[in-house]
């Protein structure tokens, strides 16, 4: 079972069904521990709300790798992937602004993880 942290807005959006796809940057070239590259359909993820520590369990319905955030958002759409905006350019900027995501995505790509709350 995977353990991931999630900001409150994304957390609530998954619960309400408004967000069905979580976006995560690749972490490594080789498979390792909790890395997103090891995630597979039918596995569970425990999301912890970074605000209040609440837990959300989700089933992975699909994992898709992309070389860039633009390609991901163009393919998956913005409606169910972004909880902050539906604007493609703002979405790309928002994801690139997450800590070391821009560099990691250039190196390892980015993943769309389709989820369903348990």
């Amino acid at each position: 079972m995977y353990e991931l942290k999630l900001n409150p807005r994304a957390f609530d959006s998954i619960i309400s069904g408004l967000k069905t796809i979580e976006i995560r940057a690749g972490k490594c070239k080789d498979s390792c521990g909790q890395c997103v590259c090891r995630m597979q359909k039918n596995q569970l993820i425990n999301f912890t709300n970074t605000f209040d520590g609440k837990l959300l369990r989700c089933i992975i319905k699909r994992v898709q790798h992309y070389d860039s955030v633009r390609k991901l958002l163009e393919t998956e759409g913005t409606e169910y992937t972004l909880s902050s905006t539906n604007d493609l350019e703002k979405g790309i900027k928002s994801i690139h602004n997450i800590s070391d995501y821009k560099e990691r995505i250039i190196k390892y790509g980015v993943y769309a993880i389709e989820l369903s709350p348990v």
Partner: protein
């Protein structure tokens, strides 16, 4: 805020639960299917166990006369049309609920063992209780 859950509760007899856990049974056969697709079902093991014991992830059911075409308890009978059930839900992975939840506890949330199936969306308090008070360990 409504929690969109694509899950159901199923009552399954102990001998079939054992077969699921042992990997012998890889499809759950049902006469009916939920109106919308389900991704998982919570397994209530019927008497004399009478506990919520497992979480099973599933996907689109095979609908007879489509064939399962793989070995497993009941699969051949299904493929040959010998079962009364026309839907076969694949058992993709199995998680054990630790600790399991006995019926007297389940009843506190208004849960009654379903004859066919019941939707998790109608049991939000029970689902919250499960998430707060149990661990899920993957066994298959």
């Amino acid at each position: 805020m409504e929690n969109i859950q694509e899950g159901i509760f199923l009552s399954i007899k102990p001998r079939f639960v054992e077969a699921i856990v042992n990997g012998i049974k890889n499809h759950e056969f049902r006469k009916y299917k939920p109106k919308s697709p389900v991704t998982h079902f919570w397994v209530y093991t019927s008497a004399p166990i009478s506990c919520l014991e497992y979480l099973v992830t599933t996907s689109q059911p095979v609908e007879y006369p489509n064939q399962i075409s793989k070995p497993g308890l009941g699969n051949l009978e299904f493929d040959n049309g010998l079962k009364s059930s026309i839907y076969a839900f694949p058992i993709n992975s199995v998680y054990k609920i630790n600790p399991h939840i006995p019926l007297d506890k389940l009843r506190q949330f208004g849960f009654t063992p379903p004859q066919s199936f019941s939707y998790t969306k109608n049991q939000a308090n029970l689902i919250e209780y499960i998430h707060l008070n149990t661990n899920l360990t993957q066994i298959l």
